[in-house]
């Protein structure tokens, strides 16, 4: 008998659903073994049919999201938080920094793209006060972060859940798949903003660019740093950062960067704090991050610190 898979799409961008389609021929291999009974982007199934594996994309942002995830939990045997939004809140998790009234005020009351300044409150599900990952609402059995997770890891996770076979899911960071070498370059200056690095073989940190590869779990095979673009941590924190309450992006990046370049740890930390919405963009609504005693996100980037 084929295993039934049901999927649901909450506050996310649908990119994770597209990533499932991205499995290409692997999808065909799977077709002998699985049957999709509910997929919002492909099928018109309004109910929640029973399934063996439930895949949920997106965070809990509205009352609809909360109800939908509860229906998913009730109808499937194994529930997978699929993608960084479901696991950590993802980019919409930035709403965790503000109450829903100030989010509305920012977007609708003065927003340049909303000339009538009307709030869409009729017929739209009510926003909740904050944003939370799905495991804050229901029990989750498997976590597959990634924005979106690379097809390789999706296939590996499905294999694991179907029959426990297949390759192991990596415990390493994004650096592990990066071909650049970390070498000491004392005297290098800190380079802020979206800059690229001149040397193609040298680690971005060694070139003064704050790359988040070393603090990010590998679920992507490091495409960004290999193209010279700093990793923004879209797969969410590394296992070390999740495990150790006192270890945080800011401290690890400052320590490593200062070792490689001589840039003072304080300068790196100040930069990360000033740009907290960038460096914590994907994971700040997760208690695994905001509960850390060294993380003061609301102080760095909360309502008192809006740059508008």
């Amino acid at each position: 008998m084929k295993a039934k898979i049901s999927t649901e799409w909450l506050s996310g961008c649908s990119g994770c659903h597209v990533a499932i389609v991205d499995l290409h021929e692997k999808l065909l291999n799977l077709a002998d073994e699985v049957e999709f009974v509910r997929v919002p982007v492909l099928m018109d199934e309004k109910g929640y049919p029973e399934a063996d594996i439930g895949i949920v994309e997106g965070a809990i942002r509205s009352v609809h999201d909360r109800e939908a995830v509860e229906h998913m939990r009730d109808s499937v045997r194994t529930l997978v938080a699929f993608g960084t939004c479901a696991v950590y809140g993802g980019p919409s998790g930035i709403g965790w920094l503000h109450d829903s009234e100030s989010v509305f005020a920012q977007v609708y009351d003065g927003g340049p793209t909303n000339a009538g300044h009307e709030r869409p409150d009729a017929g739209a599900p009510r926003l909740e006060e904050s944003v939370v990952p799905i495991d804050e609402v229901v029990e989750v059995d498997f976590l597959l972060p990634g924005c979106p997770p690379s097809p390789y890891f999706i296939a590996a996770a499905l294999r694991l859940l179907l029959d426990g076979s297949g390759p192991k899911l990596s415990k390493r960071t994004v650096c592990s798949g990066c071909t650049r070498k970390m070498s000491r370059r004392p005297g290098t200056a800190l380079r802020k903003g979206a800059v690229t690095a001149a040397d193609e073989r040298l680690c971005l940190l060694s070139q003064g660019v704050v790359c988040m590869g070393s603090v990010t779990l590998d679920r992507c095979f490091s495409p960004c740093p290999q193209k010279g673009v700093a990793c923004t941590g879209c797969n969410g924190p590394s296992l070390n950062i999740i495990r150790e309450p006192q270890v945080d992006y800011r401290g690890v990046l400052a320590g490593t960067m200062s070792f490689l370049t001589g840039i003072s740890e304080a300068d790196v930390k100040a930069y990360i704090e000033a740009e907290a919405k960038t460096f914590y963009a994907y994971s700040l609504a997760s208690p695994a991050i905001y509960k850390k005693p060294t993380v003061e996100l609301r102080e760095w980037a909360g309502d008192g610190h809006r740059h508008d």
Partner: protein, 239 residues
């Protein structure tokens, strides 16, 4: 026995593991750009190399897990759900562990009681000094300073996450300027005044620690308190 395995494909040649290991388990091979495990039997499982490794490329086996009292259980629970590996799940706290924890807590309370009863009559400075000496006694011994200067440098480094201390030794007078102070920041955050009991405790704690580590006697002569920096002055005597 502890075994150490470096995932060579994952390694980015940063050399951080070589630096992080206090017992010099690794040596860096410049020709291959990889660290080599040259002293495996010296590994005592602190996992400092693993924590420093940007690629998380160093795996150990046979390291006893520390008690999970200080971990966040929700975060721990995420690990095995993310890797599908049961080995990543840290076992729930068993009742035997709770008993050990309580024994440990009991021992701490007893020693706190000892500190208090040994010092209470002589007031806060003595409590601070005693606690500082206790800290020095309890630290691991792999970095024993050779002399007072080394002890001072080490203390500055160790207190650095919370206190920025600038020491000056002239003749037998030690002056420490406290620039950035965790206590001062704390007091400012809560709108309370600095310079109270906490500061007294801290100065004597620092002095107690320094004197034990540097094998000298420090006689406190003055503390001056300011808004941006405080100074602590003491006479150094051989112990």
């Amino acid at each position: 026995m502890i075994t150490i395995q470096v995932d060579e494909k994952a390694c980015v040649s940063c050399t951080l593991c070589v630096d992080a290991c206090e017992t010099r388990v690794f040596a860096f091979n410049d020709a291959t750009g990889l660290p080599e495990v040259v002293n495996a039997k010296e590994c005592f499982g602190c996992l400092a190399c693993s924590a420093a490794c940007p690629a998380n490329a160093i795996d150990h086996t046979g390291v006893p897990h520390s008690m999970n009292f200080y971990y966040d259980l929700h975060s721990l629970d995420m690990l095995s759900k993310m890797t599908g590996d049961a080995a990543d799940a840290v076992p729930a706290i068993a009742s035997a562990d709770v008993k050990r924890g309580l024994d440990d807590l009991g021992a701490r309370l007893l020693s706190l009681g000892a500190v208090l009863s040994a010092t209470l009559r002589s007031g806060l400075p003595a409590v601070g000094t005693f606690a500082g000496r206790t800290l020095a006694n309890q630290l691991p011994r792999y970095r024993v300073p050779k002399n007072f200067e080394e002890a001072l440098a080490l203390a500055i480094e160790e207190f650095a996450p919370a206190w920025q201390l600038e020491p000056k030794v002239s003749g037998d007078t030690l002056t420490i300027t406290v620039k950035d102070c965790f206590l001062r920041r704390l007091a400012q955050k809560h709108n309370s005044e600095t310079g109270g009991d906490l500061c007294t405790l801290f100065y004597h704690y620092l002095a107690g620690y320094l004197s034990r580590m540097g094998k000298v006697r420090l006689r406190h002569t003055a503390t001056e308190r300011g808004c941006d920096a405080c100074t602590y002055t003491a006479q150094i005597h051989p112990s």
